[in-house]
């Protein structure tokens, strides 16, 4: 086995390291569509990714971590920085410091900084501190400012 230093540009490269284990575990669990809990990630390293085509059902807690959702997430999410890609769909409750939304959110959102891109959609009860919405976005439901 060759141990190589994880490089900055190869985020998806499967190297042996403490972070890849987390994302590997997540991808496996997401693939099986099982209800599961993920360990709390303390190290602010590479994002955990729920890729397109994967469905995650359950509770995800990463209060110091980053999560990127390109697939389907159903459940509760507690994260520091969340990016929902154009193909991403989140159904449930989210609590985050920052959310960049290019896909869809259905549910209760509690965030410090919310950025909604064009073609994105957010539906439900949203509580925010800072809000940016691009033209073309679809924002529905209740908005509240902390």
């Amino acid at each position: 086995m060759i141990f190589s230093k994880p490089s900055e540009d190869n985020i998806n490269q499967e190297t042996i390291g403490e972070v890849s284990e987390e994302s590997l575990v997540e991808e496996l669990e997401a693939e099986q569509s099982a209800v599961s809990k993920v360990k709390v990630c303390e190290a602010p390293l590479r994002p955990s990714i729920i890729s397109e085509g994967f469905e995650f059902v359950g509770e995800l807690k990463a209060p110091h971590g980053n999560v990127t959702i390109d697939g389907v997430f159903k459940g509760t999410l507690q994260v520091k920085a969340l990016i929902i890609g154009a193909t991403g769909h989140l159904q449930g409750d989210v609590q985050a410091k920052s959310i960049t939304l290019k896909g869809e959110i259905n549910g209760a959102v509690d965030v410090d900084e919310l950025q909604v891109a064009a073609n994105a959609r957010i539906d439900g009860k949203t509580t925010y501190q800072d809000l940016t919405i691009a033209r073309g976005a679809c924002v529905l439901g209740e908005l509240k400012r902390r």
């Binding site: 809000l131 908005l143 509240k144």
Partner: protein, 110 residues
Amino acid sequence: MEDTNLYGNLEVGEGVVIKGDCDAPGRVVISGEWIGKIKAEALEVARGGVVDGEIYAAQMDIRGVLRNQVHCSGFLMIRQSGLIDGQVHYSEVEVEKGGVMTGQLHRTKN
């Protein structure tokens, strides 16, 4: 004062408080305070301006405060200093960073 009053337009200056209904075929610019109903083609609320009531417009550019019932059949733009509170109906919306939008939002597709 320069006579720039074009047909269909209404401008409420800073410090002016109006209570009533308005139906303007053109552009309405509020720098003061308006309590009541406004129906316009384009509505601009300047920074420091306050509109409280039933507001209908095709285009909205908000730098001040807009309260109550807001119906924008076209493009609703909330600037950095803008604040909207209430029942908001829009077709397209954009919120600049710093802008505040609270209440219930509804989207009408035109």
